[in-house]
Structures are given as structure tokens and as C-alpha cells.
């Protein structure tokens, strides 16, 4: 512990980062300045410190000059701290003897004048902090070799399957009565036009049958405790009122049930019963009873048709909500997206005109298992002319600034399907820009274009039923500018399909809190790094995949799902996980055992114990549970608690150096 501070040898390494830093900060002067700081044995600068030669430079000095502190003045520690910690480790120096000095993100990129001066202050501060750094040993704890996957859409299913194939236990939790998510609602998928159900159902069945996957449908995660490698999740299992082990999925109960409502799965276009499976290929193929609608539950005991007709006696009204606790090493959040409700943009006529529909409603109308058996029938008739309006709520400051990334393509798919199913149908695409960037997408665009679709570049202002001419009578009229000609345009059609924005789930905020994640400005869950850590999050051991992270098409969603699976497997297959080394410690000499820390800690790390022979009780902190947030240290009245790597001494030294005045 007590190190002779006369032996402190600090090496300071200033990175040019090409011109990113050197372009604004005088690196030579900065290096000279660093050289003059207390206990600095050597100061150098180099083009790219993170490069091989750069790293070698540091290693060499540690070995030859016997450095015992390293300060790297470069980019954000959130970028390269791990890199340089390895460098230290390789050279036999404790990784916690490193201090990063952020002179790029927080200096050269945000300042012009005074950048060099500020860089000096930051370097001096880093050096003085480094002076007091202490070696820490990183503790490893065993990992629970199981994964919790939240959300049973295509992302969740694919991730679960991959992990299960890797021989690991997976709990797949889905809120709805069946897995399948949005994808199973779709009719065909672009650009290959293969039937969505045909490629999804095998995956759903596989997930259901896989020995390593425990499927929990009609269930929700309500609580998550613990830390990376050792999470405890509580799952609420809503009562199905149907015994999964007895039900054969024969469907008699659904035939006999007299109580109808609109089917959520069919976007309200078709009916479902009070006892129902959302769709024929549901997995598990076991119905649930809607307690709101079921008369047996509402008016206790009346009806009970399902009870009577179920030969297996699977209907069981005695079921109640169950809480299940599972232990996992990693969590994958695949909670998907919501489709924006376009009635928010009243001028487009959704909900005012029965023949203005959303893209998802069209998918169901097009689908053989849908409410119309696959015949495109809107408001009772087959539309001979259809307008497809892109960017409804996307690329629009008033709603969502971002592009939803799938609309252009499915709009082309719709056009193709309409022309396939409706004889001499006219289809009009109202677009701002056609974005067909994926593999095979441009080709599909070309194909659709060759099928006689009319492309109109212009964002429509309204859909109206006010006829201004004979040919508009009895039609819906789409009003826009034909921007390529620069004239206002009115297009009479039978049906309008809106392509609403994909938006973050209405409960994204709750999900973010539950799993301790943050949200991007657009409301979607936030990844750790937009480019290099696309599925990892600020919360170690929790990964986000699919549309929960942002709008995506199916290929991207699946790719991310598999990335998430790889991350999770890599984490649990390592067997152990490094724990936060910068945790709280108690100096028992100073502690009075007041218990303030015990009250304040959210993670139940501190407990007040009596050491034998010691009359005063003292605080003792469970290192595995401590997250090093420092709440206890700041609250400790006697200053007995300190946070390793963020000690008072270290922070005050930094402060003093920054102010240029002794504290």
C-alpha cells in the first residue's frame, strides 16, 4: 500500500491523432510542458498512439525506464482506455496505473483558441491524478451460463436459437400469446417476395421445440437485479386460463365461444373470440382467454362454453398470475417497435375515410390467412387504383426526423402485389426520395418500375373526398405537387395506403429503466457505440437487437440478432467475468458504523457488522455487489468510505492541478 512517492515515475504520451489533435493543439509545446510536471520521467508525442508502433513506444518505456504511471493524452477514455490498459498490462504494469487525458473530444474538437492552454491544464491534471493512482486487482466472478431474451419477434427468436444451438440455456420471454412479432403479420418480404409466414413459422417452431429454450409467452419481465454475469430477472406469467400441457390446439373452444372482438393481430380488420390464438400458426398453439371479454370471468360462472366443449378439460379458470425468477449471465433486449398512428396527421384522412389504410393493414388484407382471405378488398370493394404515400411521420420534424428505412421497399412490394392480384390496377407511389440501398433492393426497384407503376415525386398535403371534377367523383383525391414538373397535382384513387413511421415502443422508457439502459434522442434504445458497439449497451451484459435500437428491415434485424447472440455467448462462455475493480472500501479506523451507507446503497452492498473484540460496529462492503457509484462515499459523515480509482486524494489532486492553485 504505502508506496514511496519519490519513486513515482510518470510517462506522458501525447497523441496527434493525425491532425485531429495536432491540427488544433500544439503537441510539441504540450509535450515540453508535460515534461516539466512533477514526477514525469518522460514525455513523448506520436502520430497515432493507439497504433502498433505507438503502443510499442509506451511498452518500451515502461520496461526500460521503469515507469510506474502512464498518462495518455489522446481521445476519450470511452474510446481507447481498454487499449492502453492492455498495453500497461503487457508491459507488466497494473492497468489501473493508467490515466487517460481527453484532449480530442473535449478539447481539440470543440475549441480553437485556447485549445493548447486547455490541453496543458488537462495534462497537468492527469499527471497529478496519476501520481496518486494505486494498483487494483480486477476480481473475476463465475458467470451463470444462461441468457434471457426479451421479445419473441424475429430478432428474439433468431438470437435465442443461435445461443441455444451454442449449447446454452435460453429463456425467451414474449408479452403476447404467441411469438412471431411483426414479421409473422407480414404477407410477403422484399426483395425476394418469399412468403413471410413460410420463412418465420419454421423458426418459431424450432424455438418452441429446442431443448435449450424455455419459452415463456404471455409473460413480461417485471424486475431485474444483479450485475453482468449474474442477473436475477423476475417474470410475470399472466394466466392463460388454458392448461398448456393438456391443450391440443384443436380449436373447438374458439368455434364455440360466443364472444367476439376485433383481432389485434389483424389490425382490427377481422374478429377474434374471447378465447383465442392470435393466428392459426401461433406458437405455442394454445389459446388464451381475454379476461376483459370473457363473460365467464366478468359475470362469474355465466357462459363457460369453452369449458363444456373442451374434451381434454384444458380450460382452467382457477389459473392465477405467477411470478417466476430466473438467473442468467446475459440479457438480450429485442422488444421491437410500434407503428405510428397516422390519424395524428388528420389531413391524410386515416380513420376519417374507411379506404385510407396503413401498410400493416394492407399486409393483413393481402395475406391468405387474413380477414379477406388474401383478396384485396377495402371498404367492401376491390380498389382499381391505389395511392401509396411514403414518409408518413418519417423525415418530418413535426413527428420523427429519422428515415424509417423500410417504407420505400415495402411500398414497391405493395405495388407489385396489387398488380399481381387486381386486374389492370393503377398504383401511384408518392415519394420524396427512393431509398433502396440493400442487397438486391435497387434491382427490385427496377423490376417494380418496369411493371407500370406511376412514381410521383411529391409529399401529399391531403387526402380529400371533395371532387373538383367529374373524374374525381366518388374517389379519394391525393393532393400534391408533381415536383419534377413543378405543378400542383390531384390524383383520384379508390384506396390510399399510408406508410407510417416506425417508432420506439410506447413503453420504451419503462424498458430502458428496467434494464438500466439509455434512450437516443429519437426514443429508441441506445447502443454503446454507434459503429463499433452496435448491440452492446452502457449496462454490461445487456444487449439490444432489432428495431428496439432503431428502424430496421429484416436482414439487418437478423444480423443484429446474431451479433447479440455472439456477444452473449462470448460473455457466458468465458466462464468468468471481470468485475468492477473501482469499488468502495471502508477504513474501519474511521468508521462509526452509523449505517448511512447501508441506507443509501441501491445494491445492498454495505452491511454493518461487529468485528469480534471491537465494541463499535463497522461497515463492510460486499465487493461483488458494489458497483462503485460512490453514493456511500459522498454520504459517509466520517469520510471512512472511499472509492478505489476515484479517491478524494486523486480527485482533489486533479482539481488542484486544473485550478493551478493549491487546494
Amino acid at each position: 500500500m504505502a508506496e514511496d512517492k519519490n519513486n513515482v515515475k510518470i510517462g506522458v504520451y501525447v497523441c496527434h491523432c493525425g491532425s485531429n489533435i495536432a491540427g488544433t493543439v500544439d503537441v510539441e509545446e504540450l509535450t515540453r510542458f508535460a515534461q516539466e510536471q512533477t514526477a514525469v520521467a518522460v514525455a513523448r508525442n506520436y502520430k497515432f498512439m493507439c497504433s502498433e508502433p505507438g503502443q510499442a513506444l509506451i511498452k518500451k518505456d515502461i520496461e526500460e525506464l521503469g515507469l510506474n504511471r502512464v498518462v495518455v493524452a489522446s481521445c476519450s477514455p470511452r474510446m481507447h482506455e481498454p487499449t492502453f490498459r492492455h498495453v500497461c498490462e503487457d508491459a507488466g504494469l497494473n492497468p489501473y496505473q493508467l490515466d487517460m487525458c481527453n484532449i480530442r473530444e473535449q478539447c481539440s474538437w470543440v475549441h480553437k483558441d485556447g485549445a493548447t492552454e486547455k490541453a496543458k491544464a488537462l495534462v497537468r491534471a492527469a499527471a497529478s491524478r496519476a501520481y496518486y493512482l494505486e494498483p487494483l486487482e480486477t476480481r473475476r466472478v463465475p458467470v451463470t451460463p444462461a441468457v434471457l431474451v426479451v421479445g419473441g419477434g424475429i430478432a428474439g427468436i433468431q438470437a435465442a436459437l443461435k445461443i441455444a444451438d451454442g449449447g446454452r440455456k435460453v429463456y425467451l420471454v414474449e408479452r403476447e400469446p404467441s411469438i412471431g412479432g411483426h414479421m409473422i403479420q407480414l404477407d410477403k418480404t422484399f426483395p425476394t417476395l418469399d412468403c413471410s409466414a413460410c420463412i418465420t413459422t419454421p423458426k418459431m417452431a424450432a424455438a418452441n421445440a429446442h431443448p435449450n429454450i424455455e419459452l415463456m409467452t404471455y409473460s413480461e419481465v417485471v424486475n431485474v437485479q444483479g450485475y453482468v454475469g449474474n442477473f436475477k430477472a423476475t417474470i410475470r406469467r399472466k394466466p392463460r386460463y388454458v392448461d398448456e400441457s393438456l391443450c391440443t390446439g384443436c380449436g373447438v373452444c374458439q368455434e364455440k365461444c360466443p364472444w367476439k372482438t376485433e383481432s389485434e393481430f389483424d389490425c382490427g380488420l377481422g374478429p377474434r373470440k374471447a378465447i383465442y390464438t392470435p393466428f392459426p400458426q401461433a406458437v405455442p398453439n394454445v389459446p388464451v382467454i381475454d379476461p376483459e371479454l370473457c363473460v365467464y370471468i366478468q359475470k362469474d360462472g355465466k357462459c363457460g362454453a369453452c369449458l363444456k366443449f373442451c374434451e381434454r378439460g384444458a380450460v382452467d379458470f382457477s389459473q392465477t398470475e405467477k411470478m417466476v425468477e430466473v438467473e442468467v449471465g446475459a440479457i438480450i433486449v429485442a422488444t421491437g417497435y410500434d407503428l405510428m398512428d397516422p390519424s395524428a396527421i388528420s389531413r391524410l384522412g386515416y380513420k376519417r375515410f374507411p379506404n385510407v389504410i396503413t401498410s400493416m393493414e394492407f399486409e393483413r388484407l393481402c395475406n391468405a390467412t387474413g380477414p379477406t382471405g388474401g383478396h384485396i378488398t377495402v371498404d367492401g370493394r376491390e380498389p382499381k387504383s391505389v395511392a401509396i404515400i411514403h414518409c408518413v411521420g418519417s423525415r418530418d420534424q413535426k413527428y420523427h426526423t429519422y428515415c424509417s428505412r423500410v417504407c420505400c421497399m415495402y411500398a414497391l412490394k405493395f405495388a407489385h402485389l396489387i398488380q399481381e392480384k387486381v386486374e389492370d390496377a393503377k398504383v401511384y407511389q408518392f415519394y420524396i426520395d427512393m431509398r433502396c440501398y440493400g442487397k438486391g433492393y435497387e434491382e427490385f426497384y427496377q423490376r417494380a418500375a418496369s411493371e407500370g407503376i406511376t412514381f410521383i415525386r411529391g409529399k401529399p398535403s391531403q387526402v380529400t373526398d371533395l371532387a373538383m371534377s367529374e373524374e374525381e367523383k366518388g374517389k379519394l383525391v391525393v393532393v400534391c405537387e408533381n415536383t419534377l414538373v413543378g405543378r400542383p397535382l390531384r390524383v383520384p384513387v379508390d384506396t390510399v395506403i399510408l406508410c407510417p413511421a416506425m417508432e420506439a415502443r410506447s413503453d420504451a422508457k419503462e424498458v430502458a429503466r428496467l434494464f438500466n439502459l439509455s434512450q437516443s434522442a429519437d426514443g429508441f434504445l441506445m447502443e454503446r457505440h454507434a459503429k463499433l458497439e452496435p448491440v452492446a449497451t452502457a449496462n454490461d451484459g445487456v444487449f439490444i437487437v432489432g428495431c428496439a435500437q432503431g428502424p430496421k428491415d429484416i436482414p439487418d434485424t437478423v444480423a443484429q440478432a446474431l451479433a447479440g447472440a455472439a456477444e452473449a455467448l462470448a460473455l457466458i462462455d468465458a466462464g468468468t467475468v471481470k468485475l468492477e475493480a473501482a469499488t468502495a472500501t471502508v477504513s474501519e479506523a474511521l468508521c462509526h458504523g452509523c449505517g448511512r451507507c447501508e441506507e443509501i446503497c441501491e445494491f445492498h452492498a454495505p452491511t454493518i457488522v461487529r468485528r469480534n473484540g471491537n465494541p463499535i460496529p463497522v461497515s463492510s462492503i460486499n465487493q461483488a455487489m458494489c458497483k462503485g457509484c460512490g453514493a456511500c462515499a459522498a454520504a459517509c459523515p466520517t469520510g471512512a468510505i472511499s472509492i478505489k480509482h476515484f479517491t478524494r486524494q486523486q480527485i482533489l489532486a486533479e482539481l488542484e492541478a486544473l485550478s493551478g492553485v493549491p487546494v
Binding site: 473530444e105 473535449q106 491534471a125 439509455s518 437516443s520 452502457a538 453514493a631 459522498a634 454520504a635 486544473l658
Partner: protein, 142 residues
Amino acid sequence: MNVNGFEPKIVAFTCNWCSYAAADLAGTSRIHYPPNVRIIRVMCSGMVDPIYVLKAFEAGFDGVLVAGCHIGDCHYISGNVKAQDRIEKLRRVLHTLGLEDERLKLEWISAAEGGGFAETVKEHVGQLKELGPSPFRKETTP
């Protein structure tokens, strides 16, 4: 009014999970702000010991910024709430020391709010220029 040529010194204690990341984002998005601010990275705003703030003023900083996650978004569940309580108590102490409210700023800046961070700094610098140097300032070179 603005003490002519006076450049206030600010130290910012920023939470590693949100506002420090926000400062990084301001950098990656090249959003410029005055260099008057010096950032000290902490793991959580709840880690900021009142002593640090007092010492900062003692050391001659004209302003102190404590920045954490929005309420409800704390990486450690409620560190920011604790920070808030402490800062409120601390304000009374600062009053008795004759330090104006504006000198100590508590802000919630999420990792997505790079512009927000820059704005906060600009605003604080502006306020401090209005107030002039801290009474505890020993010398005036920034």
C-alpha cells in the same frame, strides 16, 4: 454588467454514463463551446462530495457544474437524486459564504445531448461573466 475581458473558470463534474458521454458527443459532432470549462470525470453525479465543490471555489474556480443523468435514468438507479439533495443543502452553505446561486449549476444531460452540453457551458459562462470573478478568486489569469 460584464467585467470586460474577464474569462471565468469552470470545473465540471460529469457523470461517466451521460454527461461525460455528452461532452464526447459534442466533440464528435464538432459542436464548439468556450474553453473555460475543465471536466473531471466521475462515475456518477452521486459520487460528487460537497467537499469537492467547496474546494473548487476555494481553489478559485468561478463556477462549478455538476452534470448527471436525467431523473429516472441514473445508471445506479438514484445517484442523481442523491446528488440533487446534496447540492440543494450545499447551496445554503454557499449563500452564507456569499456565493451567488448561479455559480453552482446542477444539470441533467443525457448521453444523446451533445448540443445540450455545449449550451449548458455557454449559458454558464455567460452567467458568470455577468456575475464577475468569484470572491474567492486568488488570481485572475484563467
